[in-house]
Amino acid sequence: MIEHIVVIAFMIGLFILSIEFRNLLRAILSFAGGNVALSAILYMLGAPLLAVFQLLIYAGAVTILFLVTIHAGEESEEEKDTTSAKIRILSIILAVFLVAVLLTYSPRIMETVRAPQLGLTSLGEHPEFLWVNRWLDLLIQAFIILAVVASISVQLRKEEREERGVEGE
């Protein structure tokens, strides 16, 4: 149990840093570090396949996406200037309060969880589980990727000159 708590503390610390850092590059690097910690957690919890996915997708592709977007902005990588102190303190208080409330109620929420009605399946015993049972989700996932590719190409299309269409300003 103690190793779980240590890695969880690392992960939460890295994510808090990634939000608080003003230099965007450092923020994204600590986000990547938090994802590596989350991948370690997934491995410890007995989902090694998901740990690999986490590293590939989040600590890999999403981090690279963020880095590309930052470097599209040619200004210096600082977040321009801070939020006013009042709003920050107010939102920190709100967040801490929300976490405290939810954590005190979470044992009551969780006490009914450990009685599943149906026998759960194990990926070790049925390795092709996803393909046989959940192929519809995977197919729609492929179409989601197609739609997102089309959306991004719509968003990033080149404009030769300033177009003024029907409802432009």
Binding site: D137, R157, E159
Partner: protein, 492 residues
């Protein structure tokens, strides 16, 4: 009929439409782009209507693969069939309308991707309502949502569209996170995700606090899309800034889909908690009606006015949910359908006016009615239907909602419905007054809208009148869906 057939037709058609349109662009026949998309939508509509005409055999759930509760499955019942017809029909109207709406160079260049996104949007909506498995519902919901983000931010040179698109994306993704969280709680309780199995298990489960938290998360998650009041702030900006055919389908179908999924989940999964959620929805319907109508009175931009009126109509729909009875559910489902048609018609008409005039505020469109008579008559029918005038379909559903609130002992909700409908005439009739005023020189050489834009408007206007004076087939379909959701009268 296997529900996989039209679903795969829509999905495959979106990919095929992209490829065919790129081919047509290479060949040089650019006028024909988008016709394959319209044909695919028409074919899906025909398949669904054929099934409806022959009577629906409701199977438990339909899978391709091992028939266990762990499998992703679809379910073809009255509710799914009925609303799939509506989504395919609205999609077809918007697709035909878009064939001649986009004329600027920058948009026409990427019109092939527009049709891909439009077909993916309709496929996502049809999948949500046909899904029998919670995670399948979530994946189709994401398909619908992700297609709509870029459609709203389509005019990337306009600051309004891009900012509205980003705000819409952030709020909608937060909603999706809430949906996943609620779904994970239900999964933790029961270990399965199949909706029919969940419905039978949850009836006897000792959920306690977990069920309440899951219900709250699901309502918040789907409520972002369905414009429940504190979560509605993305709506006016997104509807205004999107191109008009996109506004039409999002306002008519996507917002209604959010309310529809809430109805379906509440009545089939959480009927024993109905004491809590009826009061909740009564409060939120009042807030929706209040904010929608009062803010609508202050607007000058016609599309923004229509957006606030959508918020108000969601309030009317939730009166039916708050009643908690079978009649209330019937009224709510019927109003989702009628409001979808009316709002889509209204947005298509204002789109035609914008197409000819490049303006959309009340002062700018004064007098255009004399020059575009067909558009104005269709717009008048839409507005009268939204107010709830008798021979049109809005009246039928509002009457059922009022009766259901009486029936459930919430007469104050029914009275508020009537009062707020009367208040809403304040801004609806202002639009009409601006349209039929005598024309000034700004609108001197405005012609009627092109034929491809007129045909969908006329078909929708015909449906508005038809379902007003002859609501029986639609009403019987809705009644069978609501009685099935209510478990054959055992629950509500």
């Amino acid at each position: 009929m296997n529900p996989f057939t039209p679903l795969f037709l829509l999905l495959g058609g979106s990919l095929a439409s992209l490829l065919v349109d790129q081919l047509l662009e290479k060949v040089g026949a650019v006028k024909w782009r988008g016709c394959l998309a319209a044909c695919v939508l028409a074919a899906a509509l025909l398949l669904f209507s054929w099934e409806a005409y022959h009577g629906v055999q409701v199977a438990e759930f339909i899978v391709v693969g091992p028939k266990s509760p762990l499998t992703a499955s679809l379910r073809l019942d009255h509710l799914g069939l009925y609303f799939s017809i509506m989504f395919c029909g609205l999609g077809l109207a918007v697709c035909v309308y878009s064939l001649s709406y986009f004329k600027s160079e920058s948009e026409v260049r990427i019109i092939d991707r527009y049709y891909l996104l439009l077909l993916a949007l309709v496929a996502g909506m049809v999948g949500v309502i046909l899904a029998n498995d919670f995670f399948t519902l979530y994946v189709f919901w994401e398909l619908m949502a992700l297609s709509s983000y870029s459609l709203v931010a389509f005019r990337k040179w306009s600051w309004e569209a891009v900012e509205a698109g980003f705000k819409y994306l952030v709020m909608s993704v937060t909603g999706s996170i809430a949906i996943l969280f609620g779904m994970s709680l239900l999964y933790g309780l029961t270990g399965i995700l199949n909706l029919t199995e969940l419905a039978s298990i949850l009836k006897s489960a000792e959920g306690g606090m977990l069920l309440h938290v899951a219900l709250l998360m699901l309502i918040v998650g789907f409520g972002v899309k369905a414009a429940i009041v504190p979560l509605h702030t993305w709506l006016p900006d997104a509807y205004t800034a999107a191109p008009s055919p996109v506004s039409a389908i999002i306002a008519g179908a996507s917002t209604g889909l959010g309310a529809l999924v809430i109805c379906k989940l509440l009545f089939s999964l959480f009927p024993h908690l109905s004491a809590s959620w009826t009061m909740f929805f009564a409060a939120f319907s009042v807030l929706n009606m209040l904010i929608g109508n009062i803010t609508g009175l202050l607007q000058d931009d016609v599309k923004r006015m229509l957006a606030y009126s959508s918020i108000a109509h969601i309030g009317y729909i939730f009166i039916g949910v708050a009643a908690g009875t079978r009649l209330g559910l019937t009224g709510a489902l019927l109003h989702i359908f009628n409001h979808g048609i009316l709002k889509a018609l209204a947005f298509l008409c204002i789109g035609a006016i914008i197409y000819r005039l490049n303006a959309r505020s009340l002062s700018d469109i004064t007098g255009v009615g004399r020059k575009m008579p067909i558009t104005t008559s269709a717009f008048t029918l839409a507005i009268l239907g939204l107010i709830g005038m008798p021979p049109l379909n809005g009246f039928v559903s509002k009457l059922i909602l009022f009766t259901s609130s009486l029936d459930a002992g919430m007469l104050w909700l029914g009275i508020l419905l009537v009062i707020f409908s009367a208040i809403s005439t304040g801004y609806y009739l202002r639009i009409l007054k601006a349209l039929i005023a005598p024309p000034d020189e700004r609108v001197a050489n405005v012609k009627e809208a092109p034929l491809l834009m007129l045909v969908p408007m006329l078909v929708l206007a015909f449906l508005v009148v038809l379902f007003g004076i002859w609501p029986d087939p639609i009403l019987s379909f809705i009644e069978s869906s609501s009685s099935m959701l209510c478990g054959g009268g055992r629950i509500c």
